[in-house]
């Protein structure tokens, strides 16, 4: 459903993403990993239209979306979360999601429909759906969930999840990982997932792509990637064994 070719992004003289190429099948979960600063978030920013690529093409269901504006891409079915949560604090939790449900869905949406999709999304991630619940009551974990709920309320066909587990404690991490699987299975959403917590990521994803210095250095099934010496060197380090174990468990 997604084909990315020759994608590049420069900041000044610095190349953050260099000629990256990959594709996704419907219903797949792709894990995107790589050292800090390797360009993962930058790729997300380009896929979601927040940044304009310097070169390359991004085809969503055959349609070119590279360089389109973020809201248009969102309406076409790409939902994203931000690495650092960006809630709308002046709206309630429900309104946050409803806003996404109203503006982010394709076609004309009534208010009632928007609120319904908001409630569904919130239930799915396990946040309260009562109208009064304020964003201020959410902790770090709650904000991560809200990011997901906002993205889901737009009824995406492709979900870009950027470090959705960062800062979660262990029990919540497991729940969140299961939730992503659920989302894929029940809502038929394709997912690209960026995460540094290998123990969880490797269990959930179907395929892993590894970036380093903006270049793709490896791609494949989780256990293959976990065994790739180059990946071990630049990314996994001594966690490689644990990672491999998790990959096998998944």
């Amino acid at each position: 459903m997604l084909r990315v070719e020759g994608l590049s992004k420069h900041f000044g003289g610095f190349t953050a993403v260099d000629n990256v190429e990959f594709s996704l099948e419907r219903g797949e979960i792709l894990g995107l990993i790589g050292p800090n600063g390797s360009g993962k978030s930058t790729i997300f920013n380009m896929l979601s239209g927040t940044l304009e690529p310097n070169a390359g093409s991004i085809k969503l269901d055959g349609k070119e979306i590279a360089g389109a504006s973020p809201h248009a891409i969102c309406v076409m079915g790409v939902g994203r979360t931000f690495q650092i949560p960006r809630p709308f604090r002046r709206l309630s939790i429900l309104e946050n999601a409803a806003l996404a449900g109203y503006y982010g869905r394709a076609g004309a949406v009534t208010r009632a429909e928007a609120w319904r999709s908001a409630e569904e999304a919130l239930e799915l991630v396990g946040l309260p759906t009562d109208a009064a619940a304020s964003v201020d009551m959410l902790g770090a974990a709650g904000l991560k969930k809200l990011e997901l709920a906002k993205a889901l309320a737009t009824k995406p066909s492709l979900l870009l999840a950027d470090e959705s587990l960062g800062g979660l404690d262990h029990s919540e991490m497991d729940q969140a990982a299961d939730m992503l699987k659920n989302i894929r299975d029940e809502l038929d959403v394709t997912i690209i997932w960026v995460e540094h917590i290998m123990g969880v990521l490797m269990r959930v994803v179907d395929r892993v792509m590894v970036l380093d210095h903006g270049e793709k250095i490896a791609e494949g099934r989780p256990h293959e990637v976990a065994a790739n010496p180059k990946v071990i060197e630049v990314y996994l380090g001594s966690d490689a064994e644990e990672t491999a174990a998790a990959a096998h468990r998944g």
């Binding site: 900041f11 990993i33 790589g34 050292p35 800090n36 600063g37 390797s38 978030s41 690495q83 650092i84 902790g139 770090a140 974990a141 470090e163 960062g166 800062g167 979660l168 404690d169 262990h170 029990s171 919540e172 991490m173 497991d174 540094h196 290998m198 123990g199 630049v234 990314y235 996994l236 380090g237 001594s238 966690d239 990672t243």
Partner: protein, 234 residues
């Protein structure tokens, strides 16, 4: 070295810490672990003076921390690498480091400390003239720790230093913490990555809903089924 007695603190009407008492001895590494929202960051903020305590006492090497003006606490040898890095986004990496050395008594040693930090994080040397706001998450974490180290503190408070870092970097951070310890620095660290942090600290406290639940050496805690279940997913 650092002693907390019956600390209460919160935000406005909301109380986040209830009667927390803990000790960190010189040269020790101590972790505070606990679920989201337990009050771990709040504890760190109270120690470094970012928020006031409503009751209790804090002493650093016998001197009262709570009686000192908040901005003098760094001068007592307490450095804090805060949650979410909190760099100055529109300043270069080097200027951020410079800010870590702001207090007059530290300024002479700026060059020396800077070299120490660049040695620790060669990536920072490479990016020293980049605006901190455009660094990647991991780079920002390095910069934040580096900034805290600039004042050559006696005790370093680290709030989730591994959050959002790549596994190799997490390992580096942890081995770095060990190295820092090796240099005689005392460390108080808040972490979600319980398994790894317990490997490098001497002792740990478990904080839940603003109160201390458990305390023990890292070995004890690593063995504790309760901890294993709650924090390590076993």
């Amino acid at each position: 070295m650092l002693t907390l007695r019956n600390i209460n603190a919160g935000y406005g009407d909301f109380q986040a810490l209830f009667d927390v008492s803990l000790d960190v001895n010189a040269g020790e590494a101590v972790a505070v672990i606990g679920p989201n929202g337990a009050g771990k960051s709040t504890l760190m903020r109270v120690i470094s003076g970012m928020i006031p305590a409503t009751a209790g006492q804090i002493e650093m090497e016998g001197a009262s921390v709570l009686d000192a003006p908040a901005h003098d606490i760094v001068g007592m040898g307490i450095a804090h690498a805060p949650e979410n890095r909190r760099l100055f986004p529109r300043m270069t990496v080097e200027d951020n480091l410079r800010m870590g050395c702001f207090m007059p008594q530290f300024r002479d040693r700026f060059e020396e400390r800077k070299d120490f930090v660049y040695d620790l994080f060669p990536r920072m040397l490479e990016r020293r003239n980049q605006m901190a706001g455009t660094l990647s998450g991991g780079e920002q974490q390095m910069c934040a720790i580096g900034r805290a180290l600039m004042s050559d503190p006696k005790i370093l408070l680290m709030d989730e230093p591994s959050a959002g870092l790549a596994p190799v970097i997490v390992q580096q951070v942890f081995s770095l913490i060990e190295r820092i310890r090796g240099e005689g620095l005392t460390v108080l660290i808040v972490e979600q990555n319980v398994r790894q942090v317990l490997r490098i600290v001497d002792r740990a406290y478990v904080l839940e809903s603003g109160s201390l639940r458990l305390e023990g050496t890292s070995d004890e805690l690593l063995q504790s089924p309760e901890i294993q279940k709650a924090f390590m997913g076993m």
